[in-house]
Symmetry: C2
């Protein structure tokens, strides 16, 4: 039985080999783009998919199963906290590396601030407290002592409780007030990579977890306009990262009053649409005005000798980006990774019987060395040979489910013919292509680039198809009554009551006031004048 | 007055320029080594140092002042927690980058585990609990609510308190028990970069802080010998890093029973000597036997089909390494950084009047571009131009105190003569050398390499001069009564009572049983047989 399983795919490959035509470099690239749209169809045609349920059946459960099948993360024994497994963490490391380089190129420096914030500091910015009070984890004791029942209990109460940071504005503000004296010290541009804790009642892996990893940037400026520009520059940095590296199209805009960061003057956001039509807030950047400078005492002597309060910003993205990555690109066979963020871009799978083992492995090593020297996205390709002694099919499916962009199978016949049997993650799992080795090496950078752009275009197409300009309350009702409603662009008078109504009636919120919308109109509910359309959507 | 300050050094440089001789590439490198030993003398000869007090006057206070003068870290409002400022954090980033590459080359993968550990998990390994009970920070509540006095108080008590991780053995053990099923899953080699908390009564920046940053590696193996080898391999990895990158000589050995990690079978350590003779435990690696596997239930089916417990290791280094770096190399003018770990290796300081500004800055930019393309230690040189409009002396001293290996001053005359005025951090601050630009570029890699090795040799010489083989209790008494006693190599019967006595009488502990010591003898206190000499020292 095992034998038949091994030989069946071999025989099919044998046939394919004879009928295959050498595909030229140019056509290979074109195919990357053209295949994209037909992928959905071919996936549907295949008998069985690796992930059950499918996206269309149960999107939330599909999401969990993709994470499980790709070994991205695991639930932990601590409620609401997850364990990020090596494959998931490797993606996060690539996110960090790219963003960190962008931040540094923009003049930011990394630093590290304490995990704990004294309760007193937290109380200073009233709006801030209010925003986070329900989500705080609080250290009240140190030391453990026997509880007399064979267990342990907290021993020494702290004089002042410590809040586990939900964000570091208050303590960083305190430090900034010590570091900033003169306009010569400004701008001060600091970033921190850290873990933060916000107690989560309904946790979902990567999207909402009690502890999560993030970066938080904090800057101080002498002039308000400069701080506001910084906040917008960082939003643009996030947009670039989301679109160029994650291949995730985003809409840049401003949050409404009720959705903005507690204590901010204005909050800017990038919003992405997931494959169920819901919005994901993927990154935010806040112009804090002088609010935090005043509560923390960040003062400086200006060029003209006056003492003034600084103008601050803060901005952050989190491990939730990985949730966005999953829900933007993955399909019913599991994770699909854009090549730029794939910890492994090409996996070489040797296929041999005992008598050809040495030859095949040698050839694979040689190919590995050649490919490892090729550059893509400013770095050497990330390639590996998987010569584990397990069944070929099992092995292939493992890499499909993990989203590795390209698999290359190498058997004795491929060596003889000088071709590579290439399987791509943006096509159906059963689809194989035979490419001359030299051509493959020459075109691989362009092919991966085309796959990257295909993923972006596909996601953008989905978003555009699921966005609608809505001109009345009735139309909005119809829109949100449809299947997987996406983004509704509507004129809305942004006040608490109207937003509350939208939330109650449709389960939707104002995702943002998009920068690109400038045409004025009248609110579809109140008839009041509206400066621009907003995006209404259900969200994560 | 300002003018005279500007022109005085200029005039002296003018004289030096005429009397300077072009120093050839070769002699430049030789000088790097030979100057090292005379550096102390020349430093003593200079009128005033940047750091007060000097090392000889008050070492602990000197240490704090070096940190302050180099902007490495700051005290935070949270007792025992520090803020790592950009210059300090940039060093930590270099430490991380190097170590991370070494770990990955050895087959370890990064992952991330929760910050919180349920109290119940912590109770499983009795020795482990005992070891950390006094140092725990405990989250007992979530949410904040008004306290009725205008402030806030913790609102909701947790059913089970959460410990802020002092180390992650117990929770990682729990996850490993889910991931490991068969011998095919082994070895499992995981590393985590994270923050940990151990409540510290007497905090000292970088050396002992309530929160610190570290990496913790955790592995599971099918065979005990393999796990023990892993623990030793990681110790060797730490030794290589300490000696080759930090230029900090270390002694590899095993901890005595009383000093080993709570719950370990054996703990291995690298011990370094600081410039006050005290020992610094710079990294540890633990062979945990089956202890944690048994308490966490890490079981696997062996090749022969039997269910067995795994064999585990753990190993870690922390931000304390930066404390070690400071105390190994720095002098009375501040921080001295080995080139391999210097966030900035060369700073170019333009010196100009208004009429020569454009020419000088152009030349500096050109030099910057040239130097930035040169490789050192497998990477491009880290160079910057500092053209801030502040006094040249103030600027130079800033970089001296920050430990930047090389400063290059460029004025109109240097451009004319085609030489660079080079100041090196391993020489007296007033010493300048004029080197042909082309020669400088050709030799800079070798010169930095020689500086790196000089720092290592100097530290090793200090350690050797302050180490002594001690053959009786009287000799030991004399040794520890001396000024800044270093390492005493003595035969000692390692049991609790003898160790307690050494601690009480001399304030010293057994730092380790060095691997290199193999000759047996008799205990200087008890006369009992001793398998090898141990190292006794006071420590951080």
């Amino acid at each position: 039985m095992i034998n038949s399983k091994i030989f069946a795919p071999k025989f099919s490959r044998f046939l394919k080999f004879y009928f295959s035509i050498e595909i030229s470099r140019r056509s290979l690239i074109n195919t990357a783009v053209s295949m994209a749209t037909s992928q959905q169809a071919s996936a549907n045609a295949s008998k069985k998919n690796a992930i059950s349920p499918a996206r269309a059946e149960n999107f939330p459960e599909w999401y969990q199963q993709v994470i499980k099948a790709a070994d991205l993360a695991d639930n932990s024994p601590v409620r609401g906290c997850m364990v990020i497994r090596p494959w998931g963490y490797a993606i996060w490391e690539l996110v960090q590396k790219r963003l960190d380089a962008m931040f540094k190129a923009m003049g930011h420096q990394n630093a590290y601030f304490p995990l704990f914030i004294p309760l007193g500091y937290f109380e200073r910015e009233a709006r801030h407290v209010e925003g986070f009070a329900k989500e705080c984890a609080i250290v009240t004791h140190t030391r453990l002592q026997p509880d007399g029942k064979g267990g342990l209990k907290p021993a020494a109460a702290l004089e002042e409780p410590l809040i586990v940071r939900p964000t570091s504005e208050t303590i960083i503000g305190e430090m900034f007030s010590k570091w900033v004296h003169s306009y010569r010290d400004l701008p001060l541009k600091i970033n921190q990579w850290a873990n933060v804790v916000r107690w989560e009642m309904r946790p979902r892996m990567f999207l909402r977890t009690t502890e999560f990893l993030w970066q938080e940037g904090h800057t101080v400026h002498a002039i308000g306009e400069e701080a506001q520009k910084e906040a917008l520059d960082m939003l643009e940095c996030y947009r670039t990262f989301a679109e160029n590296y994650m291949a995730m199209p985003v809409i840049c805009g401003q949050k409404s009053e009720s959705e903005k960061f507690p204590g901010a003057v204005s909050t800017f956001t990038i919003e992405a649409m997931m494959q169920d039509g819901k919005a994901l807030q993927a990154g935010t950047s806040h112009f804090l005005g002088q609010n935090f400078a005043k509560s923390s005492g960040i003062k400086f002597v200006s060029e003209s000798g006056r003492e003034e309060f600084g103008w601050t910003t803060s901005w952050g993205v989190t491990t939730r980006l990985i949730g966005g990555l999953i829900m933007t690109h993955s399909d019913d066979d599991g994770l699909v990774l854009p090549p730029q963020l794939a910890p492994l871009q090409i996996v070489i799978l040797p296929i041999y019987r005992e008598d050809s083992k040495a030859e095949v492995l040698d050839y694979c090593k040689n190919l590995f060395s050649e490919l490892s020297e090729i550059a893509f996205g400013g770095e050497k390709l990330r390639v590996k040979i998987d010569d584990r002694d397990i069944r070929g099919g099992e092995k292939s499916w493992e890499f499909i489910k993990k989203g590795v962009p390209m698999r290359i199978e190498i058997g004795p016949r491929d060596i003889q013919s000088g071709t590579l049997c290439v399987c791509r993650r943006d096509r159906s799992p059963s689809e194989k292509e035979f490419v001359g080795r030299k051509e493959f090496a020459n075109s691989i950078g362009e092919v991966l680039g085309a796959m990257q752009s295909t993923l972006f275009q596909r996601a953008k197409k989905y978003r555009d198809e699921n966005s609608q300009r809505v001109n009345s309350a009735d139309e909005l009702f119809e829109f949100f009554n449809g299947c997987n409603p996406g983004f509704a662009y509507a004129h809305l008078h942004c006040d608490g009551a109207t937003e509350e109504r939208v939330k109650k009636d449709f389960g939707a919120t104002i995702r943002c006031l998009p920068f690109e919308e400038t045409e004025s109109g009248t609110c579809i509910f109140t008839g009041k004048s509206s400066e621009q359309r907003v995006i209404l959507a259900r969200s994560y």
